[in-house]
């Protein structure tokens, strides 16, 4: 069974890619018996959810887009 330290990597990896089933199984077994790793997983998911909800909503404001567009047209004229 993976150590807790290794679990932080596996839990992070599981957000990046589909893990092979032996790793998933080992992770699930560890989570069944380790409250702290369950909490660590909750915290990772918390951070991801916060980012999805808020940071992805940062968009280039329309006025800024227009200013940049004008500037680019001016500067890149042949």
């Amino acid at each position: 069974m993976p150590t807790c330290k290794k679990m932080t990597d596996l839990l992070s990896d599981s957000l990046e890619m589909k893990l092979p089933w032996p790793k998933i199984l080992a992770m699930k077994l560890h989570l069944m018996v380790c409250k702290t790793c369950r909490r660590y997983r909750q915290h990772l998911m918390f951070m991801q959810k916060m980012l999805d909800g808020r940071v992805k909503a940062i968009l280039l404001p329309e006025a800024a887009r227009l200013r940049i567009k004008e500037k680019l047209k001016g500067e890149t004229k042949e």
């Binding site: 918390f46 980012l51 808020r54 280039l60």
Partner: protein, 189 residues
């Protein structure tokens, strides 16, 4: 190569949001982020001949912006918190785990995200924690988890050699960010 459009206004339309988001997360100023998007696109237009076409236009633009951000922090290093790239990852690992790799700290209950997401103070803390990360960690976290740049593209932009190294770096970044949020926000009441 000959088929690629050399039109910065197209790049602005396609990648303006990604570039702006990246700049905002790093420099935290709307006017400055706007300037950086503009400068990045102009620099890209001027140096288009050097674009190899081996990466996507987006990755190429982000690579240019990355250097603009580094330059910015170099010039203004006295004004910001994150500048010396002091990396205390090893200390954090030693603080968190015993010799057998078991947790030796307690993690507190953070509750549900819904409450914090609308709390401005939480976001100030979040940005402060992001700013405390070494620059390469902050870049990696933003580009991979916020902007969804692929692992391969992240490796290219950030000069990381293997996906495995990328995964380890992301895991350490999450560990650090979690620790910072816990201390600065969740453990304050």
């Amino acid at each position: 190569m000959a088929q690629l459009t050399v039109d910065p206004t197209t790049w602005l339309a396609d990648h303006g949001d990604s570039l702006y988001r990246y700049a905002m997360l790093r420099v935290r100023s709307e006017p400055l982020a706007e300037d950086m998007v503009q400068e990045t696109l102009l620099a890209a237009w001027q140096s288009f001949a050097q674009f190899s076409g081996q990466s996507s236009v987006k990755t190429w633009l982000i690579g240019i912006m990355k250097h603009k951000i580094i330059d910015h922090f170099r010039k203004h290093s006295h004004e910001t918190e994150s500048l010396d790239d002091f990396d205390d990852t090893d200390e954090l690992l030693a603080h968190s785990f015993d010799a057998d790799g078991h947790w030796k700290i307690n993690l507190i209950n953070w509750g549900t995200p819904d409450k914090s997401v609308s709390d401005e103070q939480f976001w100030q803390v979040f940005h402060r924690c992001l700013a405390r990360l070494p620059q390469n960690m902050a870049d990696l976290f933003i580009l991979r988890t916020v902007d969804g740049l692929s692992s391969e593209e992240c490796c290219k932009v950030l000069a990381i050699e293997t996906t495995n190294q990328l995964c380890v770096a992301l895991s350490r970044t999450r560990l650090k960010l979690r620790q910072c949020l816990e201390i600065q926000w969740f453990d304050q009441g």
